[in-house]
Symmetry: C2
Subunit: 228 residues, 2 copies
């Protein structure tokens, strides 16, 4: 058997193996570092104008959140939708350019609002809702979203995990009811702290507890499937 014949056989084997592995085979998978998973309860971000209209004063911080610079406010609001009302909703600060309401699909059904899955800040074309305090009322023309599941991280985290800003990855969440969430958005910023955020529907589906961690197991593949 000469060298060319051997080369042909090896090429056939490599082509066959690659076809079995599929289109993602050549992409190296990131390491399996455990990432803290935090549940985001329904909450509201307010513009300065809307905060003033509702409370007559700027927002009052009461507790720092896991992402640096973000805080829980003393103020609470009522969400009034066409089908239902939810009371005592957390307001997160600091104030933003536009008010935004982040709810779960379960909440959306109760309120009667057809909220789309969006990244924070991407509120064009989203439905509105009524916000009320003890002393004020504000009608938002838009801003109600179901927050897309995402991971906050620093550029250094991204480098170590082998992922890029805005990339979509698959994350295995190892709770009592383990699952793999696809389409998890990577969000990279110097001021972020490494943490994955999912909503209560996702947390309940995973049997979440505070000890639960997530592991990036792959990137979104051409067929919408992550390969470990």
């Amino acid at each position: 058997m000469n060298e060319n014949a051997i080369r042909d056989i090896l090429e056939d084997i490599v082509i066959h193996v690659m076809s079995q592995l599929g289109p993602q085979a050549a992409v190296p998978c990131p390491e399996g570092e455990p990432i803290a998973v935090e549940l985001s309860a329904r909450h509201v971000h307010l513009s300065e104008a809307d905060a003033l209209a509702l409370f007559g004063a700027p927002l009052t911080p009461v507790r720092d959140l896991s992402q640096p610079g973000q805080f829980l406010c003393r103020e609470r609001v009522r969400l009034i939708g066409p089908k239902g009302v939810m009371d005592n909703i957390a307001v997160l600060g600091p104030a933003r350019g536009s008010s935004q309401v982040e709810i779960s699909r379960t909440d959306a059904r109760i309120l009667g609002v057809d909220a789309p899955v969006r990244q924070s800040g991407d509120i064009d074309g989203t439905p509105g809702i009524i916000l009320a305090s003890q002393t004020g009322i504000v009608g938002l023309e838009r801003g109600v979203i179901v927050a897309a599941r995402h991971i906050h991280m620093t550029p250094s985290d991204a480098h170590r995990l082998g992922v890029r800003d805005n990339e979509r990855v698959c994350v295995r969440v190892g709770g009592e009811r383990p699952l793999v969430l696809e389409d998890v958005v990577v969000r990279v910023h110097e001021n972020f702290r490494l943490s994955m955020h999912i909503d209560f529907d996702e947390g309940n589906s995973a049997g979440w507890s505070s000890a639960v961690t997530g592991t990036i197991i792959g990137r979104k593949g051409e067929h919408g499937l992550c390969r470990p």
Copy 2:
């Protein structure tokens, strides 16, 4: 290059490829047949005695369900937990040996009941709840569960899909928010019809619509991870 040298090279290649594929590589994956995914809303199964105590008469069928022999009843109940109450809860027939209440984790939080994830019928050691109708009240000492996600199928379906009764498989659910659910219990019976059942938390997490299907992508692996 002689035949033994070629054999050595090929063996090295095979060993290298197998190590890349991991321990599950040798297990053949079932076919990717789409399976209908149905959402199970919170509901109650009643024993004959509890149905009589609540309604003074046997259950009245109003609509057949997807699983042959199962039906929705005209009767509705109120669930009364230590923290909350839920009204207008569906009763499914026919009557069973023991009453059983199937709720989501979201419902469990509202009612204040620490319901474990269980297969239907497996209610030993589960918490109880109060059931009420317009005319009666029944205190269940046990029977409140979060139903484990599962797939009903016939023996012929199981043969075709390459799975066995009580096996746990991983299912990709391709909704607006795609995910892979691990620990999906296969339930095989002559009287079943092929259909996957998930609860509203899971449906909301997947961005479920009636067109959504699930695909078995693997068996539960040694590392708790399904390999496509």
